[in-house]
Amino acid sequence: MKRVILALVVVLGVCFAASAVLAGGGGPPKNLIKGFILKVNPDHTILFKKDVTGEEITLVLPPDMETKDIPLNRKVLVSLKTIDHEITNEVKRISIMFINLPTSKVIALLVVGLIGGLLSGFIGSGGAFVLTPSMMSLGVPGAVAVASNMCHKFPKAMVGAYKRWKYGQADVKLGLVMAASAIVGVQIGIQIQKYILNHWGNAGSNLYVSLMFVIVLVVVGTYVFYDAYKLSKGGKEAETTKIAKALQKVNLPPMIHFKQAGIKISLWFTLPVGIATGMLAATIAVGGFIGVPGLIYVIGASAVVASATELVIAFVMGMWGSIQWGLSGLIDIRLTLLILAASLFGVQLGALGTTYVKDYMIKIVMGAVMLIVSVSRGAKIPGYLADLGLRAPLTPQTTALLDSVSFWSLVAALATAGIIITAAMIRGMLQARAEQG
């Protein structure tokens, strides 16, 4: 088994090196440049100084862009228009890289960090599906939000994984095996994204992402929630699924014994789950929503072990992603650290909460969150369909309503998770104290 682990370390090392060389592992789009706008010229162009190299270039502003609002001498992100995949010198959008942080935004980041961390520690998800949109709603540019969250995700996952390993829940070997194939899955997911972007543009890409989101979250979320509901009513312990039992019986070398999970299964059957996790992470930024159910229903791990082991996967993938975003200089460390300030409490609370609840409670929280978040994403779909000309354009009132539904259902997902986890923990702790007393 030491040879298997050594082989995995080599594979991971190769993946790191490959992603650095290929630079295709989830880094920023090529038409995104950062630097400083030195001045606005009378002919509706700007003099732009690129960061690091200091090269000064002239960029053309779109005709409808107001020049009076253009920030001067502040670090900005400029996305450039592309024609037939060639990057032009025409500006599409200018975003200030570092948002101001008044007290209200600091508090918002701490609250989101705390509940996101709680969710991570409990169900194993990295939390990007709430943290990234939350940062963007505070005015953070998309690329910076993704990068800063990634840089927060891996240390948080590391702390959570460590705690749950101490509680005897995380199977590190299983996590590393899955992480290796997940990284391959990320590459595949990115290539699919690029293909869709090239053929159907931004609108097509957004539609694909939202459809994947809704299909996976509704189908898997319903199944997980229904399974948890049956267990909570029936009072029986969760059983390994027929699929998992059948796969575990197949003797296809190399067979790996995952001691903590109590499973012996062929390496080949772990690959699809890992690759699917990576593909989904690349597509909708949440690998855990396939990874954890995959570990439970296909590999045969318990919900406790699956959610704990997912944190190991999240740590590896988060570290790998952060290095790439860091290489492009897009991490706003202030946001990362503010979220970490609270999420390091949240993740440890969520982790120890799992020791007080029955296995099915993890599935209830996961299923509930997945179903509510699917509403949040689903509300965006009519807009993308309209952008693609597949339906009539939406009125401004409808767009505003759908945006509101999308935002508030995300808030509802966080609130629901926070309430269920806290209530379950308090109940469990009181019960434990009563039994001791």
Binding site: C151, P155, K156, G326, G329, T355
Partner: protein
């Protein structure tokens, strides 16, 4: 036995205080130098070591503080004897 428990709690209190002070100092240091930080940390290339390394160091110090704090106020995993 009660003396041992008191000493244990005392030790935990000191650890919480030490790591809490360290964490607060690091946050203070970083947020009073945001201009330099936001500039240097986003230069790309080898500068990636700054945000990645900072996140690791902060999570170790602050994570330990959080862990000790939770234990100090009696929030522990089930079966840990508290």
């Amino acid at each position: 036995m009660p003396n041992k428990a008191k000493k244990g709690k005392g030790g935990l209190f000191i650890k919480t205080l030490v790591f809490g002070a360290l964490s607060l100092s690091m946050y203070y240091l970083l947020f009073t130098h945001t201009d330099w930080v936001t500039s240097e940390y986003t230069k790309g290339g080898w500068h990636a070591a700054y945000p990645v390394g900072t996140a690791l160091v902060f999570s170790f110090i602050h994570g330990t503080f959080a862990s000790n704090f939770l234990s100090l106020i009696g929030i522990e995993p089930k079966g840990s004897g508290h």
